[in-house]
Symmetry: C2
Subunit: 319 residues, 2 copies
């Protein structure tokens, strides 16, 4: 029987589950609402039911050899979801122990979404040939997963790879982490909206973005405006790339990777974001940086990326 | 017979060599001038002679099982000293191949000084218990060696761990690497002198440092002045620690280490530099940083540290 692993992606609204082969084929999938701000047991029971139903559909056809979970604040080292404010399950939820007890899969592994995305890219995506790369996921925040010598960097407490909180503008924009001027307040979907607002405050240039309520504005709106030649939008992409490129060079001083892989909504803008990023990397390049670090967009299918990332964590631990 | 390795530290003026046991005991040592701006062959021949003489003194008593070299721009991956401007030996000197051919030691390994210091601290010093730590060597510049899961991080091209070139003041002081505002222009012996000059320019507060030619001023002068209560000197330590602490937090977002180990002249000032560094780390701490990262001063004996670091590289590769 062909082997599969279970991939579970716990999002703020929905939990996606799927059984995934070593080749990255999703052979069965399902989903269940993420029950937030409730006793975790309620949610876990619903998750178990959804998994059991999906298991039935592949019974006798596939051998389930492990499970991987991607979740906000998922800690690889202790298998707990810790202080995930948006989920509201309290300080520490031992989801891996509970999953092991329920299903008895030989390997069960948890990590945060960005780490799972990095491992997904290494196992199934465009980073198969790279032993050293950094994945940056641009969404509401900026997550990151760091691979060094083919291994995910988790650090002493499981909290390594929080590059969204590199200082890029000392004393700059307020961040949810309590610090000022972190990368994710500039180079994420919400960071781009903040930049557009700042530019609209700075000058009086006409822009279609002035007709969108700030609370409703998305990076997609900025992309659409940029395509129509809107100068506030174009300047926003330029500034985002400048900051991102400079931050990437700082990352290079650390692990000198072969590549930076970008994932998430804002990266759908392609060259609008890539061109200023790569230009900024060149402008800020240090003399000792002999390695031409590639900047590439993730090859993972956006709709399945989260399940693939979670499943990849399990395949990676098995191998 | 007890096993030893040969440690070679190539400095800008002198090359120190020593045979070192697994316990970190230097059983024989020697030195030879570093012949710079000449054909590398001349220098290498003199080095071989010095090693042969020292070998004689331990013959029959110890079994030599390897050699480690610490050198400016020493590349771990290819065993070459590359573009070391101060040594003037050209683009690429294959010192490891030459050493292997000459002596036939089973293991020969090269790295830059800061990486060697990190491995030295792990094998012989205060970081024996740490699988994850970062060594920062504060001297003319700021070098660094990064250990993750007990392994030295060298990156794709051997140029990982150049944290002296993290951007800490965007658009700030000129750096030799071609970038502006790198960490080493603030938090190194020369960086501290630059800070003292800036403070003397900013205000007119009396200071003994005003009686020292800038070209002659050292971090030791600043330390002596601080001990006498000189406010320019005290402010210099305060500012150095503020920048260093903030940069350390940025490093923590990357690898979440157990400890930061400081080495070099400015760290002899003890609490003058440690206190503002730790205060700045606390002030800039991100909410997700649950790990209390220790900041400690290197335990390696300064006079022997370079040989021990080079020897440790060999011991580490053997094990």
């Amino acid at each position: 029987m062909e082997k599969v692993v279970l991939g579970i992606d716990i999002g703020g609204t929905n939990t996606e589950i799927g059984f995934v082969t070593r080749d990255g084929k999703v052979v069965a999938k399902n989903h269940t609402p993420t029950l937030t701000n409730t006793d975790f047991k309620h949610y876990f029971n619903a998750l178990v039911k959804a998994i059991r139903r999906t298991e039935q559909s592949i019974k006798g056809k596939y051998d389930i050899v492990g499970a991987g979970i991607g979740a906000p604040n998922g800690n690889y080292l202790n298998g707990c979801i810790e202080n995930a404010v948006n989920l509201g399950w309290g300080d520490k939820v031992p989801i891996i122990d509970m999953l092991k007890e329920e299903f008895g899969y030989p390997v069960c592994v948890l990590s945060n979404d960005a780490n799972a995305a990095a491992v997904g890219e290494m196992i199934f995506g465009g980073a198969k040939d790279f032993g050293n790369f950094i994945m940056l996921t641009l969404g509401t925040g900026l997550g990151s997963g760091i691979i060094i010598n083919g291994q995910l960097v988790v650090g002493t407490d499981g909290n390594a790879g929080e590059l969204g909180h590199l200082t890029v503008v000392p004393g700059g924009r307020e961040c949810g982490c309590g610090h000022l001027g972190c990368l994710e307040n500039y180079c994420s979907a919400t960071g781009m909206v903040r930049t557009a607002l700042e530019f609209m405050a700075y000058n009086k240039v006409p822009s279609v973005l002035r007709d969108i309520k700030p609370a409703d504005m998305t990076s997609k709106d900025i992309y659409d405006a940029a395509q129509a030649g809107d100068s506030i939008a174009l300047d926003t992409f330029q500034y985002t790339g400048e900051i991102l490129g400079s931050a990437i060079n700082d990352m290079i001083t650390f692990s000198s990777p072969e590549a930076i892989v970008l994932f998430g909504g804002p990266t759908k803008a392609g060259d609008y974001i890539l061109t200023p990023t790569v230009e900024s990397m060149k402008a800020n390049k240090r003399k000792f940086m002999t390695n031409d670090v590639k900047v590439i967009i993730s090859e993972l299918d956006g709709a399945q990326a989260a399940i693939l990332g979670a499943a990849a964590m399990a395949w990676n631990d098995i191998e």
